[in-house]
Symmetry: D3
Subunit: 286 residues, 6 copies
């Protein structure tokens, strides 16, 4: 998004946190007090969406030094941003700024961890997110995935064909679904099918889909699908995505297989926020 | 919020997930196909915000049976909702509906767990959330806290005075801050002060604040503050809130003390989503 | 509110006044004509929300001299602002700017008058506004109350507990209502009860509410409540708010009593606007 | 406006009054409590915008009896509306509903009074409002003017040409301004000119404008302008509007003259709200 | 509109074209690459709304040279704008910028052509647009009409009275409709009536309407109406608008008549866009 | 989009056409007048977006008979919709409803014509739209393309990779661009490259892109590219899109070639609206 559009989102978020006034700061601190403040990491993490935050803060008139860039890995105690400006503005945006940075950095940190784990055993597999994102925050969460080194997967229901189990239940079979889609999907969109058995996976690959998603399969089952696809000369013709209940604890079981993508819904829905705080370090002008 | 206002939020969230069309479902499924579907818990949890979801689904024309109510504890496999309506609508809202329910139920589940832990040793302490909420989702997250049995704490910067460390750094001292606030705060708003030493806590209590927050103190330090307040006859005049790094692992250390509130930022920022899924159980009409 | 958020409100207001074009100015005046203009008070008043107006005008590219500050008392003829910029912009925002300034200054002027009246006989009573505000304008109206020297009271239904007569009718009694609320209200929110008889007032004070509102009572009745509270040693334990039909004409009857707050709904709903005008004083460049 | 559009405005207003929850009602009253309530006039008034309120309440699911119609004159004690529905909804919208009704009815009441005064001496003069309206409320305020029997005048800067003193200062003279406008104004828009001297008024009439506004002239001066226009055979060719400082106290001085319109800015900016209240009259179901 | 309001529209349009990210440009081009680019006319046209585009681009931080002004007639190959700024911004707004410029210039070009045709035979007739505009784009399309030399006609249903055939069908007759309107229309609004027979046209003129619209009449019929109006001494008392199926192919038949306005719905609904492109001419900094 | 989201767009469009009131209809027609009205095609066309219009009208309380479905080809005089409801609502939405239907049906009609032309000589080529859509209307215009039988191509910059000439100018070469993209594009998105010479086209195909767009090439050049791709055994590995200046007049030159997609920007930007009108056919209740 053009940053001015992202800025508009931040203003809406600000209205949530300050529907009328910051009753504490407005009461305590005159409008001409200027401070210098630091955003400090309170645990090591991969920083994400700091560029959006910098644009936001500058548009509100603060002077900002961006001490690290998106994607940087920082240690506990690292100063990420230095802000100078009216205390009322700095304290008024503190919580929003931290909430975004902490949430997005938490996601990027988890993704980076998964990517590192996978890289140890397989140089080509991508770690991908899903559409299990928090409503209203998809732009930020998907960006955090990218920053962490992951693949964003679909942004929305409008940008690729993904035939899921519920579709197949309604249509009757994978083949029938693929036949319909072949005529109706736009030529610019890939077609992916979620399959839960070896048979379905093979049928899908034979039908010429671009991607097959093996959903909630154990790693041994996945291995069998891969083997069967190879046996039939289909392996190179499709991408294989594995999904369902994969976390840092079991990802290596899958990473060692000849697959293309491992996707994890928990990355965006359930990553722990990276702890950070804002510290006023100097009162410049009262 | 009046539910029609919440509904408007859901429509904005829907636009995020479907900026144009659900290219898969629109291609595959004719508009007159009607299905029956279940929302199923895939792990035990405390259900939250299901009433908002029901209103949302009904406003889109679906027939909904709300099989459990907000606050219910359900086991893995429980059916939470039964929906009947056009497949296109059901599948178009699936992800949004689940993302909200899973996130909010995850929060309520964590709060319920904390409240249970605390109740074992102390019948009066409240477990409270903070303003560490995900931007745009405060209504839902704070409601999930309530549903779980927690205290919502401040909704926004506009609804109570909370003097934090950064305010005090700028003003110079707790006393000075309290003096200013006494004249400027509205009579309808309570005044809380964040303190990090015994001395500050005592001074704050003596100044007549309504609540003192003991931030990032070890339980032994908190115990000393409580004792000192009692010694000076101040204990009954203030509420004591303890905050900072408290999780289910260490909450009992604090819960056994004579304090009033334990607040935990991680509840809203870092709870794990409760897993759920939507399953089409019948194609009623093609 | 952060001023950029207030600015967004002004843009929406502008769309109301100029849905397409300013057909007069666009027809008459070329876009490169620059003027100097004054905002002039046409009657004495207390100026309010001029800082919001200044931010708004500067964001539209005008050069603005803010000749008086919020809260200033000005005489008829005083120049409040000097603007320099394109005639089309100056004339396009004239009415909106004046409508806000005139309305808010009218409120601040009335509040200041009431506060002065009260101060003559009682140094501690606060004059407060209510939620009788014009929809969409609460931020501005409550701010004008503050600027005038008043207390804003509740900003919204979300920021304090106020049990009113309709609640009590439904619940059955003040005691029952207070019992419920004690468990359910957040610890950060004060509890106020509207009472219309001495008995109710006493019961409320005994139950430990923070504030009792004596609604539509004559001053003699209020005096009796105060006396009875004192007799029972309860006076210092609650704040007493008096409300209902109080204006500058009868406020002194109440101001001489030992109460804490006098609230007046008419301040925000029915104050007269302070008359002002915009005068082009120089055509700088054609 | 189509009523669904007006409804959207009401929802935005509701968000202002309930940014999160109605903390009092939600704590006190279970969601299944249903009440019957009355909206009662606490002083005589002309009711305005009650149709918009009825649509709003019905869209929120309340059952509404509209006991009087827009434009009705009611006495103190009259019941305007009867509502039946969930107590939480009724109490959640109470203040917003009353604020709109009270404000609009206050305006309609004042307009009706002025129209009656004028009618006593002159059967053709119209009483008109101006663009001195409260930002965001123009639709409601102009409608209240109509309901009261007044003329709405311009809705916005986009709907008629009105050349004011500031335009003339910039352009140099009334004649020059009229010459420009003649070529540039759309053929569907009338042209009005504000004049402050007899000479300007005559010149304007001679130039063929549709309406001349005599601004801030004493009634004797207005009489002279009218006479001079008649003498020159111009009276029937223009409408004459009189404006500036006219209230119910001096309107009769102008009403007896041969003019067409009297406009009053205070109607919309400074009318007193008509007092009303909501009273729960029955708890139908707990 | 004040340009900041127009800018807000552009941001909404941008969200349509970039709901998440420009996946191509973000992948390919680092954020510090700066380019110089030209907007080039690929066919001759009358340029419209370029000032709005310039404001939009500058607000996004681009340096813009506006090489031609609104209303300029340019040849194929002409450079309209030169932009310098980050490649990501330039390419992110390319399509939106071109879509507006091409559409508006297409309208202005068609209007200019019609005006020229008409001017050849009649110096006083205006060419007007209608309310047949594309939803959401009326500001731009009406402005393009002005830029082309046309008359904007009504902006909306709120700014003039136009009694159409459907109104008359419901009311019963032109006379009845005019009688009602005379009392109810605001004095600032002109009254126009759509008529489809000579009789109706005469009746309307006799009733004192400001404008009569002769709808879907052949030029000979129009000529008869004009003649009859002259015979009765009514011609000078009304404006005559001719409408319905008039294009550049038959406009001269009408232009030679003694009428005042020719309006064409196709101008805004069906003009061909003027072809333009954006060309990166220099990569300044990588 | 879920239809309630589309409905919201319609409400915004309505505000554009009725910022305050429909001054004509509100003056003329009492609110209890009910009419029956028809939407009639005034020329033959392919109807598009009628389902969205039906939902919109029903949500405003009208009774609607949808006499033809999206995609139907109708003759001049055909009745598309029958509406029954309050005259004020019917006339208030008339223009908006017609503007959408006429514009979308114009697009669908043009697309159908192109598809028919192409089908005569080639059964597999798709006719596609582009992102040359009118800002704010992409949902409607792309849907009209689908209804007409075309391919929507990219909805937005977020849903597929399309490397255009400007990207290549900045990056340096097609190969370099493709190398970068291979690593950075999500696995769910296809990659298309715009090429303007045979050499580029071959290089792109060899690099493994999904689609090559031959931009502004004459049909003979396109033929050469196809031949060369076949010679190298690459034809089956890529889709070939042809674009640039193709209209119904020259489309057959391209349609006879062995290509996959012909895309035309003019479809959405420059199609003529299909003429329609609303006719009140009965006044049911006055």
């Amino acid at each position: 998004m053009v940053q001015e559009v992202v800025f508009r989102k931040f203003l809406s978020f600000l209205e949530e946190d300050v529907p009328f006034r910051d009753v504490t700061t407005d009461a305590l601190i005159p409008e001409d007090v200027v401070v210098r403040a630091h955003v400090v990491a309170k645990q090591s993490c991969v920083v994400a969406c700091i560029d959006d935050i910098v644009y936001f803060l500058e548009r509100l008139g603060l002077h900002v030094k961006e001490l690290v860039k998106d994607g940087a890995e920082v240690e506990k105690g690292a100063v990420l941003l230095e802000l100078v400006g009216p205390a009322r503005v700095v304290l008024g945006v503190e919580r929003l700024m931290l909430n975004i940075l902490m949430h997005c950095s938490g996601i990027a940190t988890e993704v980076r961890k998964l990517v590192r784990l996978v890289r140890k055993v397989n140089s080509k597999i991508r770690v991908a997110a899903t559409r299990k994102t928090l409503p209203g925050l998809r732009y930020f969460e998907k960006k955090a995935v990218l920053v962490g080194g992951g693949d964003v997967h679909r942004y929305s229901l409008s940008d690729a064909i993904l035939i899921k189990d519920n579709h197949i239940k309604i249509i009757g079979s994978v083949e029938k679904a693929l036949e319909i889609v072949k005529n109706k999907a736009s030529f610019v969109q890939k077609v992916e099918v979620e399959t839960s058995t070896i048979e379905e996976a093979i049928k899908a690959a034979e039908s010429g889909v671009d991607i097959i998603m093996l959903d909630n399969m154990k790693s041994e089952e996945v291995a069998k699908v891969v083997e069967e696809l190879k046996r039939r000369g289909l392996r190179e013709k499709v991408l294989i995505e594995v999904s369902g209940g994969i976390t840092s604890e079991n990802i290596l079981e899958y990473a060692k297989l000849d697959i293309d993508i491992i996707s994890c819904g928990y990355i965006t829905m359930s990553s722990r926020a990276s702890d950070m705080s804002l510290e006023v370090v100097e009162v410049i002008k009262k």
